[in-house]
């Protein structure tokens, strides 16, 4: 199981990456894509949509629905339409080409509630 060091992790198996321009990129972890199996459908929010507590989309395999949550509120500024068009990308490259959305956070984002790589790896060991 691959768990890159420079990311933050949620208990619902999303990863978050702070970018230099202040945006945050969100995707699902290697563990999540492996559990789901071959992803056949990716549903992402619209540009400009506000992300909050509710799910922001789904990734689905034949048998399972993976709800996507982002613990940091903000506005969607970019979506990975390549992932929507080629859902297998999320399996192949969950941390790189298979990223899902970028948000501009509402306020100074609080990452303290999120896990680091070591804590996330522990969760699934």
């Amino acid at each position: 199981m691959n768990t890159p060091q420079n990311l933050f992790y949620t208990t619902s198996d999303e990863w978050l990456r702070r970018e230099d321009d202040g945006t945050i990129t969100v995707g699902i972890t290697d563990y999540a894509q492996s559990e789901l199996g071959e992803i056949v459908y990716v549903e992402l929010p619209e540009l400009g949509q506000k992300i909050g507590d509710a799910l922001f989309g789904v990734v689905e395999s034949v048998k399972a629905v993976g709800e996507l949550h982002c613990p940091i509120g903000g506005e969607v500024v970019e979506i990975n339409s390549e992932a929507s068009e080629n859902p297998g990308l999320v399996n192949e490259s969950p941390y790189e080409n298979g990223w899902l959305i970028k948000i501009r956070p509402d306020a100074a984002p609080d990452f303290s509630a999120l896990m680091d790589a070591a804590a996330y790896a522990d969760l699934h060991s």
């Binding site: 199996g37 071959e38 056949v40 459908y41 549903e43 799910l55 789904v58 689905e60 395999s61 034949v62 048998k63 629905v65």
Partner: protein, 372 residues
Amino acid sequence: MTAEPSLRHTALLASHLESGGKIVPFAGWEMPVQYAGVKAETLAVRENCGLFDVSHMGQLDVRGEGVTQALNAVVSADWSKIPVGRAAYALLLTKNGGVLDDVMGYHLSENHWLVVVNASRADVDEAHFRALLPSHIELFNRIENQAMIAVQGPHSEEILQPFCEADLGAMSLRDALKTSVLGQPCVITRGGYTGCDGFEWMGDGATAPILWKQLLEAGAAPCGLGARDVLRLEAGLPLYGHELREDLSPDESGVAFAVKVEKNEFFGREGLLGKRQTPPQVALRGLKMQGRAIAREGYEIRNQGEIVGIVTSGTPSPALDCNIALALLPAELQVGDVIEVLIRTSAHPAQIVVLPFVARTTKHTTKPVKVV
């Protein structure tokens, strides 16, 4: 404080682990949900041959003088017309004419039937039979040493034949024979739950892993419960707990063909006739999603602004490269009509289509077949 009952496992658990099967709990059993992946396994069955461990299903040996008549008073179809060497589908009805389960019966000899039932309903069905069969009829639950492997797909005959004494080429759909495989007595039937040609082997637990391994070496792919569910959905086949329920009549679930009210009294006949006083308000239909969003069990269906129905089962279809579903809809809606499936916060159009979604490729011969 109550102890959690531990899960049972079939004679093939070690085989599944060896093939890389992902094991999950199902109906009190540890079962493989997938190996290579649901999509790959589904396509392997449709194009070649796949193996399914279905040993967890209930297998009831029913024997005695007049057993056919005795069973006929319990099941919905007319099993009095089923000769030795043939299998038949039927429903078990509730007193009110709802569906308790669907079952397959195999008429193995004059005074002997094998009845196979859903794993999740095995206890309920066994109790139902015990309560209704006359006392001189023996009912034996094979659970201790049973195994059952479904071999499904266009190449299933050529893959299974070398291990089987009976001439599989001479078997047509729903033939059921006592024969031997790998020198051990067993039952072989032609049929299955996939809409493809195939066979089911019912034998003993010791032979199962040996047969499984031989069939894999001969080119069959191990397939799990995930693929099994996709295949049966593509074939338009109902599943208890989804399309078949105690609170739905056979007419509502599209299985009226399995009921013969003209035969003598059987359990639930009166209840069903009572329900038939009013025409059914709902009917089971096939849906094809028009977009890429996937309809799943429990999603609501809207027509002209009103919630009118519900999805009972839904999946992406690897064979058709689109998303399909079975749904309970108002009886007046017809094939061709477009309704909306509510998925999360939006409405996705779907068209009512003819079933099955994928054409059946089961094997019939020109031999006259008694229709149940």
